[in-house]
């Protein structure tokens, strides 16, 4: 008795399910295709949601900057500049660049993680402006870079950093830094799509970032370096960026310095954004 009643109930549920599915399928209207900006923002929303569920991923933009600034100021300040407060004026713009540039590589890591899951196939099979998946990710990364910059500059001010360029100079410097980082991210997205695993990506990124950030004018004035090394430091895009950021923060920046950063950003984007999209489209 009991059993047959259960069966009848199960059959009824199944019937209901079937009816409900037919109902949801009966809606055959298709909304207007959204533009690229909107789909990019939607992907940005997705990345923000992920931060909500995994807040630890913000460690790199909070703990890292604090750690780097404290470590390098008090470790090298006395030895390099005679006093930590003098060194801080020189170091802060550079270490800010180093920190933000280093965390750009997580864009590639995130993308690499995404690809290994089925969700990427769904995104690629949607009728949307294809780069929006990546642009959305990069937009949220820009937010992360801003957070890191604010934390670092605030701590710097507490420690005695006094930028002569004033608030405007500092804001301009951060803007320029984010622009450059956004361009640089395309290199990591290219690698993120190409390299086999998160580990290999981390390895390659470090191989690129370590020499670029250290063999630059972040920590020391290049004039003390042997001439062959100086030659490298001068063409290193990180040095070009640091020079411009330092200039803006201390009120000595020139149009030329800023112009070089725009040029470097443009070159990187023009090469790596299309390359990323090409690989993304043809990925098997």
């Amino acid at each position: 008795m009991m059993n047959s009643a259960n069966h009848a109930k199960a059959a009824q549920t199944q019937l209901n399910t079937n009816e409900k599915i037919k109902d949801v399928l009966a809606v055959r209207t298709r909304p207007k295709r959204p533009n690229g900006i909107r789909t990019s923002l939607t992907f940005g929303w997705r990345a923000l949601l992920k931060i909500k569920y995994v807040p630890e991923q913000l460690l790199d933009v909070t703990a890292f900057p604090i750690m780097f600034l404290l470590m390098f100021t008090y470790l090298f300040g006395g030895a390099i500049a005679g006093s930590t407060s003098d060194y801080l004026q020189f170091l802060l713009p550079g270490i800010l660049v180093m920190t933000v540039v280093t965390i750009t590589m997580y864009t590639g890591v995130e993308l690499n993680n995404d690809i290994t899951k089925g969700i990427f196939d769904r995104f690629r099979s949607l009728p949307i402006w294809r780069p929006s998946v990546l642009v959305g990710m990069l937009l949220v990364d820009a937010v992360r870079y801003t957070v890191a910059s604010i934390i670092m500059i605030t701590l710097g001010l507490i420690m005695g950093f006094r930028p002569d360029g004033g608030a405007l100079g500092v804001i301009g410097a951060v803007g320029l830094l984010i622009l450059f980082s956004f361009s640089l991210s395309w290199i990591w997205t290219t690698l993120g799509l190409t390299l086999r695993s998160e580990k290999s990506l981390m390895g390659v990124s470090m191989l690129v970032l370590f020499p670029l950030t250290f063999v630059s004018n972040v920590y020391v004035d290049p004039e003390t370096l042997p001439s062959w090394l100086q030659a490298f430091v001068e063409v290193n895009p990180i040095s070009i960026l640091v020079t411009a950021i330092r200039g803006l923060m201390h009120g000595t920046g020139t149009i030329e310095q800023v112009g070089w950063v725009f040029l470097a950003s443009a070159i990187i984007t023009v090469i790596f954004a299309p390359l990323t999209m090409y690989i993304y489209r043809n990925k098997k």
Binding site: P31, Y53, T116, R122, S125, P127
Partner: protein, 341 residues
């Protein structure tokens, strides 16, 4: 096949593919596949792991560009009008194509927004779908905490946020328990009743038989048979008849009786008490069993089953289907592709 083509105009076809080829290195994962799928039907794509099912589906869903051949999906060229094709089809991949970190609700809102719904409309649509797929209780849980069946249902729900004209389901029931499998079958039936064309890949003849109007059997990237499930079975025989005897001494006698009654060769397995036969007419079985009883041969166990995928393959190719392990090395690219995800 040709007659079908003649009767139906191209406008009635959901898929019309000619000579699709995809190579990964030296391996031809898909080696000249022709497909004709009429609108409003379920088409079953049957084959073992590594046969080229997933690769074919990924090509038809515009995720992979074919190396050779051409296809029209709902009247649009697969390569030149890929964007239009993407507007009309949906894909539910073999591996859950939803975001595990987000909740079920957020996943569906995400897809809804990407397809152009306003915030409110996307939310309404998501809730409707969650209810229809019995997921409303799990709406606010992260997908990583879903069971396999729930994940699959969400996956299919995500594919019909905007009702597609053609839906690709890549092994929709692999790894599901029987209850979840039945739910997915119900969903597929409801989809087709609603007018959507479905192409589903499967490793189970049973599943193709239950759902598909026509079935294509694929092996090593080539179609080796195509037809309705009735036609397929007729070519394979309607099933396998297994008998187990109490006394192994009597096996020889039983073999003779069965051979006479069933008119087919009798297979003696390594188990000394067991006999089996591929039969084409199930009516003969009752007679044969009666004859065994009359001859005083005690039958402890008998069964009459549909031909398994293995038996279909055995008949069509003369060798068993490449099992998950047995096929290693046969078709490495697709295997790796499947394994990596």
């Amino acid at each position: 096949m040709d007659s079908t083509n003649d009767v139906r105009g191209a406008a009635d076809l959901a898929i019309e593919a000619k000579g699709l080829v995809k190579e990964f290195g030296n391996n031809r994962a898909v080696d000249g596949v022709d497909l004709v799928v009429p609108k409003g039907t379920v088409y079953g794509f049957l084959g073992p792991n590594g046969a080229g099912k997933t690769t074919t589906v990924r090509m038809l869903a515009t995720l992979l560009r074919p190396d050779e051949g051409s296809a029209k999906i709902l009247g649009h060229d697969l390569v030149n009008e890929a964007e239009k094709v993407r507007g009309k089809v949906s894909l539910t991949g073999q591996f859950a194509s939803v975001d595990e970190d987000l909740t079920g609700l957020e996943n569906l809102i995400l897809i809804g927004r990407l397809l152009g719904y306003s915030r409110r409309a996307a939310m309404n649509r998501a809730n409707e779908l969650l209810e229809a797929f019995s997921l409303e209780d799990a709406a606010k849980r992260q997908v990583k905490n879903y069971s396999g069946g729930m994940r699959r249902r969400l996956d299919i729900a995500a594919s019909i946020v905007v009702t597609p004209e053609l839906l690709f389901l890549d092994e929709p029931t692999t790894g599901l328990d029987p209850r979840s499998r039945n739910q997915v079958w119900e969903i597929v039936r409801a989809l087709v009743d609603g007018g959507t064309t479905v192409l589903l890949t499967t490793q189970y003849l049973d599943e193709a038989d239950q759902l598909a109007d026509r079935i294509a059997v694929i092996d090593h990237g080539r179609l080796i048979a195509e037809g309705t499930s009735g036609e397929l079975k007729a070519s394979v025989g309607s099933g396998t008849f297994h008998v187990r005897l109490l006394d192994p001494e009597k096996r020889q006698q039983a073999e003779q009786i069965l051979a006479v009654k069933l008119h087919v060769p009798i297979h003696l397995s390594t188990d000394q008490t067991a006999l089996s036969a591929q039969i084409s007419d199930t009516k003969l079985v009752a007679d044969a069993l009666g004859e065994l009883a009359d001859a005083n041969i005690t039958v402890t166990d008998f069964s009459l089953g549909q031909p398994s995928l293995d038996e279909v393959f055995l008949t069509l190719t003369g060798r068993p289907a490449d099992a998950v392990d047995g096929g290693a090395g046969e078709n490495p690219a697709e295997k790796n592709e499947a394994g990596e995800k």
